[in-house]
């Protein structure tokens, strides 16, 4: 069924279709309408779930960690400083291998205080052991939530579904709501590999020592090092799992097919502009304008940021002359995180092929600074006409200083 609604409602409908059993969240702009909608569904009896009100985001995720440990499909959502307040529990959820799904409605982080969109909040959680998926529009939000549960439960790793605050969360756009029975067949009820059982008490995530040890039955138990090694192995393996799940989703619903990256007019492109989220669709307009002028340029979005789809990224970018990365996040003291990761993916490829495209990095839109199409056009056009000798330095768009 087609619907015109906000991105937050698209996310809420995805959670409803996923039949999440426990929801614990604390309201924060711009995530608030998402959790309000879920509480409305539950109050109206349209959704069979426990909504557990909490006093903070730290508690919200702690509740989800507990409910997921008890075998319930669990959901939370937050933004910006709320996400940062969860930080300790974010690491805990992935270390405990709990298939929680969390929507991160992207917003800049303070100080100074801001409520507007950029990607600094979720990018700062890159190294927590969660899978991160970014949606470019409302359809991708609702679809990603459902796929996220399938993925999380298969690989036992929690998933963040990230989408732009206001630009997607509060704008209205048409999208298709997956059919309930098809969604049920795509995502059957959660059957945990293990869950708390009062009949068989156990200690979960107990202290590990620097070395392996024998458990009380005399069996060799993994230490911290082994457990973290397996998290890395499973993160890498989750790319194959996502590819399979995305392909199955496409078979059932007719959408998908680009679980790692989405390319636009890149087949013969000499230059490729890279962005994440709604910005990547904004860049498509600019690509079209430049194509009209005969400039061979394409666009690409990163759909999966962790695990980083390094092979797909290197494969997509290997043939071009230049890559221009537009980012709404920054690793202060160096460069945009996506730019660093793209360079890293290309390094191995370039070694083998004695060709590395040049990579330029633009920072824009921090704290919701307006991203003007004309500015994107000027920046991209200049980048395409600049040679590989351009200095490797950050370029800022829309800076008034």
């Amino acid at each position: 069924m087609q619907m015109i609604e906000s991105g937050n409602v698209a996310a809420a409908l995805g959670v409803k279709l996923s039949r999440a059993q426990v929801i614990a969240a604390y309201p924060i702009t711009p995530q608030t309408p998402l959790t309000e909608k879920l509480s409305e569904f539950i109050e109206a009896g349209d959704m069979s779930a426990e909504y557990i009100p909490v006093e903070s985001e730290h508690s919200a995720l702690a509740v989800c960690i507990a409910s997921s440990s008890a075998g319930a499909r669990s959901f939370t959502a937050t933004s910006a400083n709320g996400l940062l307040y969860m930080h300790e529990q974010i690491h805990w959820a992935s270390g405990a291998r709990l298939p929680i799904v969390m929507c991160v409605v992207n917003r800049g982080v303070g100080a100074p205080w801001t409520v507007w969109n950029d990607h600094q909040d979720s990018m700062s959680q890159r190294d927590t052991g969660w899978i991160q998926i970014y949606a470019n529009d409302h359809q991708q939000i609702i679809d990603a939530v459902i796929k996220a549960y399938a993925l999380a439960e298969e690989v036992m790793i929690p998933v963040m579904v990230c989408y732009d605050g206001y630009l997607l969360s509060h704008t209205y756009m048409p999208f298709d709501i997956p059919d309930v029975s098809l969604a049920d067949s795509f995502l059957p009820p959660y059957k945990p590999a293990y869950c708390l059982d009062p009949g068989e008490p156990a200690n979960l995530n107990t202290v590990t020592l620097p070395d392996v040890r024998d458990d009380i039955n005399g069996n060799r138990a993994h230490g911290y090092f082994e457990i973290r090694h397996l998290l890395q192995q499973d993160m890498i393996a989750s790319m194959d799992a996502l590819e399979r799940i995305d392909s199955r989703f496409k078979t059932v619903f007719g959408r998908g097919g680009n679980p790692f990256i989405e390319s636009y007019r890149t087949d013969d492109a000499e230059f490729i502009a890279v962005g994440i989220g709604s910005l990547s669709y904004h860049l498509r307009d600019v690509v079209d304008n430049l194509r009209d002028e005969g400039i061979s340029v394409g666009g690409m979005s990163i759909q999966l940021y962790r695990p980083f789809p390094y092979s797909a990224v290197a494969e997509a970018l290997k043939g071009c002359r230049g890559i221009i990365v537009f980012e709404k996040a920054l690793s202060y003291g160096y460069q945009g995180p996506v730019c660093s990761d793209i360079k890293s993916a290309l390094y191995q490829h370039g070694r083998q092929n004695s060709h590395r495209p040049f990579v330029l990095n633009y920072i824009l839109g921090l704290g919701g600074r307006e991203i003007v199409t004309k500015d994107l056009y000027d920046a991209l056009k200049l980048s395409c006409t600049t040679g590989p000798d351009a200095p490797d330095e950050l370029r800022w768009i829309g800076l008034k200083i």
């Binding site: 270390g95 405990a96 291998r97 298969e154 690989v155 036992m156 590999a193 293990y194 008490p201 156990a202 200690n203 979960l204 995530n205 107990t206 202290v207 590990t208 020592l209 040890r213 024998d214 458990d215 009380i216 039955n217 138990a221 993994h222 911290y224 082994e226 457990i227 397996l230 998290l231 499973d234």
Partner: protein, 100 residues
């Protein structure tokens, strides 16, 4: 992958040795003087404050009470709580010398 849940997390059953042989952490060893300890002295079940307070459950409610040094971490709470001061915390190094 699901069957390997336990290898992917730190997961254990409650029981002795849940966190390994924690007695190796001990620097001070609690030693009970049966001449001062209430149940030992009276030959009757009584007091057992050490058993009650031990956070690791390594002291038995027996006559006399015994301490499982395999898992006692040497925290000293039993010595602190003993109303008759029957428990002394002794340097572990002194026992190493005895062994030699």
């Amino acid at each position: 992958m699901g069957n390997d849940y336990r290898s992917r997390t730190s997961h254990s059953k409650s029981g002795p040795g849940d966190a390994g042989k924690t007695g190796s952490w001990r620097i001070l060893r609690p030693v009970i003087d049966p001449g001062v300890c209430i149940p030992a002295k009276r030959g009757a079940p009584a007091c057992y404050m050490c058993w009650l307070y031990c956070p690791d459950g390594v002291i038995s409610r027996s006559i006399p009470p015994t301490i499982d040094y395999e898992y006692c971490k040497g925290c000293g709470i039993c010595a602190e709580e003993c109303p008759t001061k029957a428990i002394t915390m002794v340097e572990e190094s002194s026992f190493i010398k005895e062994d030699k």
